[in-house]
């Protein structure tokens, strides 16, 4: 008897009792569906993080203000802007591993173009910002030297802002937009990076200070809200980080034992750590889902044992007609396998549907990859083999004479 014949006999037997067959495979259906769903949600979360990491740029360090004391009171982190443009210059000039750096100040404001307006982040920075983040232009140009030095009334739009302010066929380059009543000329539109990053409008740092954010009490002429720096190679991140730290301590005149008034962070590393956490949670959930697969396997074994008992006479007849022990074993193993495979297939469909529903209803990103589906199916085949083997073996060991005597 061949595998194919085994499967045909199995399908025939299972079709005769559809409700029982379905209930038997239900555990596998649920197990596989939950594995596929958990995988899809976990992979989606990781994908989202990876995109965010990519959107920050590779090998980027971020320097933000730390907690500061003012008259013995420890203030909230970032409440005082401790970094300055000359810190940026110093980092660029004195730390060879840093290939680009830029200081930024940011706030939110309404941007207006003709009849449309949009609330977005206004980021005052220098062209170095785009270098650090490997952020290419979709059209137009970056700021010129004159514009950066002389508070030029120019703006570079993130793709979301460009989309919100301009009709699809409209070329934003050269158009006038207004931010807080200041007319600005659009000189560039940035490439699409990540939804979380594209909703922004960049103006020269000088322009931002002079025209928009300069009035804020905690901004003096030289200070910036944060600095981003690009390190030449991944292996130099740690070295560059400690060099920046000692340079800034020195420049900010922080004594030994005193707390830094700044923080150097590696956002990509932080996100990678988060990614690791997501992976751990996803694995845990998969492990829990696997338990239902185990329970499903046990229920298949249970039903198969009952089925072998019920069909003792059939086994006897098949043996008398020339079925070898291994033919009988194959027949029942095929039944268990078909149950598991069908259950697995239904589970995959259910899991894909469920994760797409979750994606739509909860707005999560889910990602269904063929690997997860293959893994789930492999699990169900393994379940069929493991839990089908004992009943099949039992069936094959029946004495044909005894089996023929049973009613």
């Amino acid at each position: 008897m061949t595998m194919l014949q085994g499967f045909r006999i199995a399908l025939h037997a299972l079709r005769l009792n559809p409700l029982r067959s379905f209930l038997t495979m239900l555990g596998i259906v649920i197990g596989v569906a939950s594995i596929v769903t958990v995988f899809a949600i976990g992979a989606g979360a990781q994908l989202r993080l990876q995109e965010q990491i990519r959107s920050i740029g590779a090998n980027v360090l971020m320097i933000t203000p730390g907690a500061v004391y003012q008259g013995g009171v420890r203030l909230k982190e970032g409440s005082k802007l401790t970094m300055t443009e000359s810190d940026v210059q110093a980092i660029l000039e004195q730390i060879p591993e840093v290939q680009a750096a830029a200081g930024s100040i940011a706030g939110t404001a309404q941007v207006i173009h003709e009849g449309k307006n949009w609330n977005t982040t206004i980021n005052g920075t220098t062209t170095g910002h785009f270098m650090v983040r490997d952020w290419q232009l979709a059209s137009g140009r970056y700021f010129s030297g004159t514009e950066e030095a002389g508070a030029g009334k120019v703006v570079i739009l993130g793709s979301t802002v460009a989309r919100e302010l301009f009709a699809p066929g409209d070329d934003p380059i050269g158009a006038q937009i207004r931010i807080m009543k200041v007319p600005l000329e659009v000189v560039g539109v940035l490439d699409h990076k990540d939804p979380s990053q594209d909703d922004v409008a960049f103006v020269p740092l000088t322009t931002a200070k002079l025209r928009f954010l300069g009035s804020a009490s905690n901004i003096n002429r030289d200070s910036v809200a944060y600095i981003i720096a690009k390190v030449t190679a991944d292996g130099q991140m740690a070295g560059a980080r400690s060099e920046i730290e000692s340079l800034l301590r020195q420049r900010h005149r922080i004594l030994a034992g005193q707390e830094d008034d700044f923080k150097v962070q590696d956002p990509a590393a932080a996100m990678e750590a988060q990614q690791g956490a997501i992976r751990t949670v996803a694995l845990l959930l998969v492990a829990i889902a696997s338990v239902s697969l185990l329970v499903g396997g046990i229920s298949i074994m249970n039903v198969m044992i009952v089925s072998v008992t019920e069909r003792t006479r059939e086994i006897g007849i098949r043996r008398a007609l020339g079925g070898r022990m291994r033919d009988i074993r194959l027949q029942f193993l095929c039944e268990a396998l078909v149950l598991c495979l069908l259950g697995g297939a239904i589970g995959v469909i259910g899991g894909v549907t469920l994760s797409m529903t979750v994606a739509r209803m909860a707005g999560w990103i889910t990602s269904i990859d063929s690997e997860a589906i293959a893994l789930a199916l492999a699990f169900s085949i393994a379940t069929g083999l493991i839990f089908g083997f004992y009943p099949a073996h039992k069936a094959s060991k029946l004495s044909p004479i005894e089996a023929l005597k049973t009613e």
């Binding site: 008897m1 025939h12 037997a13 006897g316 043996r319 008398a320 007609l321 020339g322 033919d327």
Partner: protein, 241 residues
Amino acid sequence: MTAPLPLISLRSVCRTYRADGVAVTAVRNVSFDIDQGEILAVMGPSGSGKSTLMNMIGLLDLPSQGAIYLEGADVAALTEDRRSSLRARSIGFVFQSYNLLARHNAIENVALPLVYCGVGRKERLERAEQSLEAVGMLHRAHHYPRQLSGGEQQRIAIARALIATPLIVLADEPTGALDSRTGAEILALFAALNEAGQTIVMITHDPSIATQCRRTIRLHDGELVSDETLAPVLPKRSFAS
């Protein structure tokens, strides 16, 4: 040149069971030959060892002592798998209770032994049709056993026994569950098959059936008590007792 080998030879066959620690001898020192083309009745009251004997001839069981030779080969020397394959190819079983698979239709039931002979599906169904035709049941090919009368089911079972062109057909009380008229029809079918050269061994406790067979072996308490050939068509042979 030696005489052709008997199809099946039993030599001092004993079969002892161990039931609840007590040894029960079902068949005791039985020897006889079955030749190609014979029709043979094995008679005896219930418990005389008929079924045990048939199980051994049908390769479902092995003697505790003595030997059974199928075409000269000692069946005990074969592996279990080999004996199973031989059952598929060389033995056709007909049971008192028909033993058709209830969940398969007539033609599938008839084709079943060929599954275990490694015959492809198309050829299986073709041969099953021929076999059904030979027993006059082709018009019932797609009926399920529960839709058929006892006589029809037994004909289907005979078609199944014949499909692999076996060396021998073993029928265990083939008319036991049938009324006398249908039983007579089934016996006539067996007689016709034997006319065509099919070797048949029939197990029965009904003397009227035995009289329709040329040769009758009687068992009592597991022992062979007589071996008579009624019509002297074949030359007399001597048998070890």
